[in-house]
Symmetry: D2
Subunit: 126 residues, 4 copies
């Protein structure tokens, strides 16, 4: 059923004629990282429920155009029995975007950078 996917639609693709493959990959990857952060920050999470949240984040993001792979780790440092709201600084995400050929994967990252005290989104491999 792949032919029904958005990224195989001619109308969809007609909007991106002004971008190179690299530009399109970082654009789509940027959208997905921004989406992930702002969708899930605030979710109640504990050691017990971390795994199911990591999985749901990964699975939901794979729906988005050109997202080929994603790994999501939530870095939690809390006591058993307690829970917190998911904070962007807890997220360590690696996202593989593929707009065309398998060999041209772009890898993006969301990771807390201590020196910046900021959850940075950047391009790790292009």
């Amino acid at each position: 059923m792949a032919e029904k996917k958005l990224e195989n639609s001619e109308i969809f693709n007609s909007y991106f004629k002004n971008l190179t493959e690299r530009e399109r990959a970082v654009f789509e990857g940027g959208i997905s990282l921004g989406a992930l952060f702002h969708q899930f920050v605030g979710t109640p999470v504990s050691n017990k429920t971390k795994k199911s949240l990591e999985l749901a984040i990964s699975e939901s993001l794979k729906n988005q155009p050109f997202i080929k792979d994603i790994s999501v780790s939530i870095i939690l440092d809390i006591e058993e029995g307690k829970y917190v709201s998911l904070d962007g600084n807890m997220l360590d995400v690696s996202l593989t975007v593929n707009t065309k050929e398998e060999e041209n994967s772009v890898i993006l990252r969301l990771k807390y950078i201590k020196e910046l005290d900021y959850p940075l989104m950047y391009v790790e491999k292009i």
Copy 2:
């Protein structure tokens, strides 16, 4: 580790002396339904990723005070290969709140009501 839980804290409970058990149950349940809706609406979802999202919603909500059980169904009517943003009208949730004794469970519901064209939150059993 149950003793570390918020709902076992005296300071926590001191804030709720002005509520009956029933009032407290519907208050906590209301918070959790409002939280669930506004946390997850917007999440990309497809037939393929529905299950993992339902599970993560259930698990995350179980972290909240007094939530004893929860069942979450996402009513999706889309083609294979497509995805949509989770809409509140797609949610069918049943939430069991227990502030004290097992036998005094309160059951709350979030469900789309056709006649109202509105995803209603209400108390099903008290």
Copy 3:
């Protein structure tokens, strides 16, 4: 046009026959506090944009059933030129719910409680 409002609909009200006025007030207020928290946590905010966010939160919540008044303060302690993601601990909210008569207002609160290290939602006046 008040007659079009949800809370004036007979079908809507038929779902709440099992609750006292007090129970209904804390239920609706709980929903709104849970909604507020999980909708807006994560929003980029700075000293410069704090006011417009406080206003939008207030205004949007006033749409919900029986919310008569709301005051929202974001407690920000950051340097000029910087921004952060809104965190639940920064929120100080007072919510007035009125299911029937003006004199029976219920006031709910969302406020960070230091002793609990937790953004507590509770009923301040009932």
Copy 4:
């Protein structure tokens, strides 16, 4: 106080040496569009509260790196007195990103495309 801004930090910029100016602009713009959509979708909105929500979205997004300007319109078609949850299809956003020189602005767009039945994010001018 501009010197405190993230985008003037050398550490921050060291993560982006692998991108051209165009790539960086579409990356940052993509992040902001994904953020905007997934942060605000679900917010209660009515004709009466539309303006304050549009303003808060604009203001909050201006905090993000390199966002020079943004216009946000919410396309609402509802009766007076009613409200709905903000849906991605209601958003019409134009975002100006400037990584360096004023003349090299990149303009991004979020807009519902009828033929796709999809709220598309794309690059309008580069």
